[in-house]
């Protein structure tokens, strides 16, 4: 078959042998390449069938979505008792924010996506206009959520809780810690001794102390350091601590990125007559940040999940709300359902961040576009 002769230089491109490419080729190569492999494949499928069958049964088919208590749940069916969630979903989402004012949270949350869109997607049409909105969004959200002016009633911080609290802490921490982290990373590389020393001290201190300690400091001690009369709310103090803590980590991640840039890049920029800030803005940071994306997002995800630690200083994040629900005699013992629900919320948020970072890495990869 392959004995056909061609003149040198005229050998044609032949298709690959049958059964080595495409879906069929993949199945054959990966699942049924030998007898033992075929047996393992079949066994795995059987096991998967029983596993998935059980999971779907417990989660959906045999689950109870509405009941007054755990005992009633059990009377109806023997799957998951999601009633503990559905009856308290308001608390899980809004904490103890007054019912009549919850629309303020809804608007802040939905408009947050509009505010983030131009920052996250550089190719968005009308981006310049949307960026204006991103600029005023923090003020708008603060007024909406906090109230106290423009006829909005003031809501005390101790009513904040649930997913809304997680999102407020996580998003503020993430948004504030990136620029501070960048400045710290540049400061640590600076030729100015004072700037470098201050950056190093800050980074090493923040990284060397457990976050939980910082939160206790925020909740009890920080007011002693402030001038008398100032009274930062506990929420602002906690956000500051989260911001500083993750800024220190981000600074180190970005420093790694900066150090990965070849020396030739700076020499080329020098040779073109660029000054320090031009080099930093156009050469160093775009490349360093691109290299650091996985590490930065890693830190963000860590920060987002660490917001659950606020439970130790008495703020009711979703875990706190969940524990309150479990303490209720009606729902006693439904910890699987409660914690799975909270876990799902965190997983969805963190998975979204992780996918976005992959997308961004791909988009910024200029080598094989």
């Amino acid at each position: 078959m392959s004995s056909k002769t061609y003149k040198p230089g005229s050998y044609p491109d032949l298709p690959p042998p049958a059964g080595t490419v495409g879906v069929y080729g993949w199945i054959k190569m990966n699942l049924f390449s030998s007898i033992s492999n075929s047996l393992l494949t079949i066994l795995s499928f059987v096991l998967l069938y029983y596993l998935i069958d059980g999971i779907i049964g417990w989660f959906f088919l045999d689950a109870v979505f509405d009941a007054d208590s755990k005992i009633e749940c059990r009377k109806i069916n023997d799957g998951a008792c999601w009633a503990v969630i559905t009856r308290r979903v308001g608390q899980f989402v809004y904490g103890f924010y007054p019912d009549a004012e919850r629309w303020r949270i809804d608007i802040s949350f939905l408009t947050m996506f509009i505010a983030f869109a131009p920052l996250l997607y550089p190719d968005l049409p009308k981006r310049k206009w949307l960026l204006w909105f991103s600029g005023i969004y923090p003020i708008m959200a603060f007024i909406l959520i906090n109230g106290g002016i423009l006829g909005l009633s003031k809501i005390e911080y101790n009513l904040f809780g649930g997913f809304m609290l997680t999102v407020i802490l996580g998003v503020s921490g993430i948004v504030c810690s990136l620029p501070i982290g960048i400045l710290l990373a540049l400061g640590r590389q600076s030729k100015l001794t004072v700037v470098r020393t201050l950056s190093v001290c800050f980074i090493e201190f923040m990284r060397g102390v457990p976050l939980i300690t910082l939160l206790f400091v925020a909740s009890s001690m920080l007011n002693y350091f402030m001038p008398p009369g100032t009274n930062f709310s506990i929420l602002v103090r906690v956000i500051i601590m989260f911001t500083f803590f993750s800024a220190a980590y981000i600074a180190e991640v970005i420093r790694g990125g900066i150090q990965a840039i070849p020396k030739g890049q700076y020499e080329a920029a020098d040779a073109l007559g660029m000054n320090y800030w031009q080099k930093t803005r156009f050469i160093t940071l775009p490349q360093a940040l691109k290299i650091s994306i996985p590490g930065i997002v890693n830190t963000f995800i860590g920060l987002y999940k660490d917001t659950t630690l606020v439970v130790v200083i008495g703020l009711l994040d979703p875990l706190g709300i969940g524990r309150a629900a479990l303490a209720d005699t009606k729902w006693n013992g439904l910890s699987t359902e409660t914690y799975l629900f909270v876990a799902l919320f965190f997983f969805v948020s963190c998975f979204a961040m992780s996918r976005y970072s992959l997308w961004l890495e791909n988009k910024l990869n200029t080598d094989n576009k």
């Binding site: 070849p262 890049q265 020499e267 080329a268 040779a271 073109l272 007559g273 660029m274 031009q278 156009f282």
Partner: protein
């Protein structure tokens, strides 16, 4: 040989008794060199002889410790204002291209003219396209450096330097990192540049280029200028033994 009609007797670079150390290591010893406007100088020598360091001192990528370097009547000192002025007058092409990988070819060329020289974006784009045409790759303007071949990247690097409209061009082994079949396209670009009357200092082992273009060839060894002569005399009757040895090593293979 390309006849040089552009050479004048006005010195643009003057190096006087210049010394440089890396730590305790004396890399450049008592270098004195004058380069006139429009002059093309090729510097060769074994590796470690200090030839790259010498041209990197001319735009102060390396700092010399003793002696004077005067470029375009400005003395090279620690003064940042002087330095930026000199650097926008002196273009440099590196062995490893050093293009900015996150910017397109066109952006590579316009970045410094826009931000360092304050050229309006439109003018910078026009200038860059004109120079990319000169190095014969205008069709690659919107690609990223990583998508180009080595030879193309080096031609972009030359265009990027020329966009600053320098008076002097330094070439630090521009063809050493290239695959053999791409060396010619870069050398051709450099020869064309030489024909426009650009003052050029070229560190290279391409002796064909030296014979064709150089007004003067310098041989360096162990941090010293051993011999300087016009190409004809340099290649046909080198005076110093070390020059003879070096030439025999690179020409007879």
């Amino acid at each position: 040989m390309v006849k040089n009609k552009n050479k004048s007797s006005k010195p643009v670079i003057e190096i006087k008794e210049m010394h440089k150390w890396f730590g305790a290591f004396h890399v450049l010893k008592n270098i004195s060199l004058g380069v006139n406007q429009g002059e093309r100088i090729v510097i060769c020598g074994p590796s470690g002889s200090g030839k790259s360091t010498l041209i990197r001192c001319i735009n102060r990528l390396e700092v010399h410790q003793r002696g004077d370097i005067i470029v375009n009547d400005v003395e090279l000192t620690g003064d940042l204002k002087n330095l930026e002025a000199i650097r926008s007058d002196v273009g440099m092409v590196f062995q490893s291209f050093n293009l900015f990988p996150h910017l397109t070819v066109l952006e590579n060329c316009t970045l410094a003219p826009i931000w360092v020289k304050g050229l309006p974006k439109k003018e910078a784009n026009e200038l860059a396209m004109e120079l990319l045409k000169r190095v014969k790759i205008p069709e690659q303007a919107l690609k990223f450096p990583g998508q180009l071949s080595g030879g193309q990247q080096q031609r972009v690097a030359i265009a990027r330097s020329l966009c600053m409209q320098p008076k002097i061009m330094l070439f630090d082994e521009p063809t050493s990192a290239l695959d053999p079949e791409m060396i010619k396209e870069v050398l051709d670009t450099m020869i064309e540049l030489a024909e426009t009357g650009m003052t050029m200092l070229v560190v290279t082992h391409e002796m064909g280029f030296a014979k064709k273009v150089a007004d003067s060839v310098i041989f360096m060894d162990e941090g010293e200028i051993i011999e300087q002569n016009d190409p004809k005399n340099f290649f046909n009757n080198p005076k110093n033994d070390r020059t003879k040895l070096f030439l025999s090593q690179i020409l007879n293979h």
